[in-house]
């Protein structure tokens, strides 16, 4: 999976540990967004035709192409429901957490 992972934030103790610019390195994510979610997407793999519309339209890029199947990166899904609403086959359902 070509997505950055959560990295634990350690408070810098030495001057060398501070970032050189006003930012940390690209893709430095100290926390997840999973706590924003009240519903989560669940895919019905039999109904899914792998059209990748959800992959294209996910605002957070959490839809993962996993060997011909759609999965989600639940660490960063915010549960907005765009994937379920846009699915032409209604194969994604939003389930209460």
């Amino acid at each position: 999976m070509d997505r950055p992972k959560k990295t634990e934030f350690k408070f810098p103790t030495h001057i060398d540990e501070y970032p050189t610019g006003p930012q940390y390195a690209a893709g430095y994510l100290p926390e997840t967004n999973a706590g924003w979610r009240s519903v989560r997407p669940v895919v019905d793999h039999d109904a899914c035709v792998y059209c990748l519309r959800c992959y294209l339209l996910c605002p957070d890029g959490t839809v993962v192409k996993d060997n011909g199947k759609i999965t989600f990166d639940m660490d960063y899904c915010k549960g907005c429901g765009v994937c379920a609403h846009e699915c032409p086959k209604d194969a994604i359902e939003m389930v209460k957490e």
Partner: protein, 302 residues
């Protein structure tokens, strides 16, 4: 110049698996983040990204979090295009050939505050792709009216009431203002038509010189819509004719989508909290303005 016909098409099946805008803190269902994410997926890793103050810089750079996986920098509000010019020229001086500089600015940062820098950038024809994600108000600071806010919108600076129906001016015609600079390539797009947007970014990527894309991106928070409908709303706006899909290339306008019949404007307006208060007369004003614009576009652009 690259022959534009030979550019390999980018679509959901063959686009890179890498995410360059990931783990950001945008509101759920944010349309602007769809636009930024898709554009960066087309442009690839070797991209310099410049963002003025606005939603996309506010949600991507929350210290120590860094949601951009490309080179990215926050610019001054009015100077995003001039900073991008500097980046592009610097990359050229270093002999970097396979890089692209891109700006993601909101509608306020493009049409109002950042406009003079943008105009200068196009005039100098620097190798920068300027993408304006248009959510029709200053959303980051709490929904104030911008130059691209359409007629009748309720914002905090143009509240709807007995005296005014929200915003009393029509949307500024940004696309034609940019095209009037005789820019190499300019286009309008909507996140409701993602493949069209991908094609336009891909085209702009392969053009040397200043290019501009105006992409319509919905904002569930500011527009008062459910989060799941943000793409549907952006598609409806195109279907009812309030947003048009067009290109400007080699001095010629091209209308990409010319529907015989528009979807009802009322249905589009009624879905959004920001237009809830509108009377039939206000809606007629919106429709009249749309028809005027389309008759001019059909006369001159087809």
């Amino acid at each position: 110049m690259t022959n534009l016909v030979d550019i390999p098409k980018v679509n959901a099946k063959n686009m890179t698996e890498k995410e360059f805008f990931y783990g950001h803190k945008a509101c759920a269902g944010c349309g602007g983040s769809i636009a930024v994410r898709l554009a960066l997926k087309v442009l690839g890793e070797r991209t310099y990204t410049a963002l003025p103050a606005g939603c996309m810089s506010a949600v991507g750079f929350i210290y120590p979090q860094m949601a951009f996986n490309t080179n990215a920098i926050i610019t001054t509000f009015p100077g995003s295009a001039s900073m991008a010019s500097g980046i592009a020229v610097g990359a050229k001086a270093l002999g970097q050939k396979d890089v692209k500089t891109v700006v993601f600015a909101g509608d306020g940062g493009t049409a109002d505050i950042g406009f003079q820098a943008l105009s200068g950038m196009i005039d100098r024809n620097d190798d920068v792709l300027y993408i304006c994600y248009d959510n029709e108000a200053y959303m980051n600071t709490g929904i104030q009216k911008s130059g691209l806010t359409p007629y009748g919108t309720k914002t905090t600076t143009t509240p709807a009431g007995d005296n005014i129906p929200g915003t009393i001016t029509h949307k500024k015609n940004l696309f034609e203002i940019i095209a009037a600079h005789d820019i190499a390539y300019a286009a309008t797009a909507s996140i409701g038509y993602p493949q069209d947007f991908l094609n336009k970014v891909n085209k702009a990527k392969h053009i040397k010189g200043a290019t501009f894309i105006h992409v319509y991106a919905s904002c569930p928070t500011g527009w008062g819509t459910p989060t799941e409908t943000s793409v549907e709303i952006a598609k409806d706006a195109v279907d009812c004719g309030l947003i048009f899909l067009a290109e400007f290339e080699d001095g010629e306008y091209k209308l990409n989508r010319n529907p015989k019949q528009f979807a009802p404007v009322q249905d589009y307006l009624k879905k959004q909290g920001r237009f809830k208060h509108m009377s039939d007369a206000d809606m007629q004003c919106v429709i009249d303005n749309r028809d005027k614009k389309w008759s001019r576009m059909r006369k001159h652009w087809l």
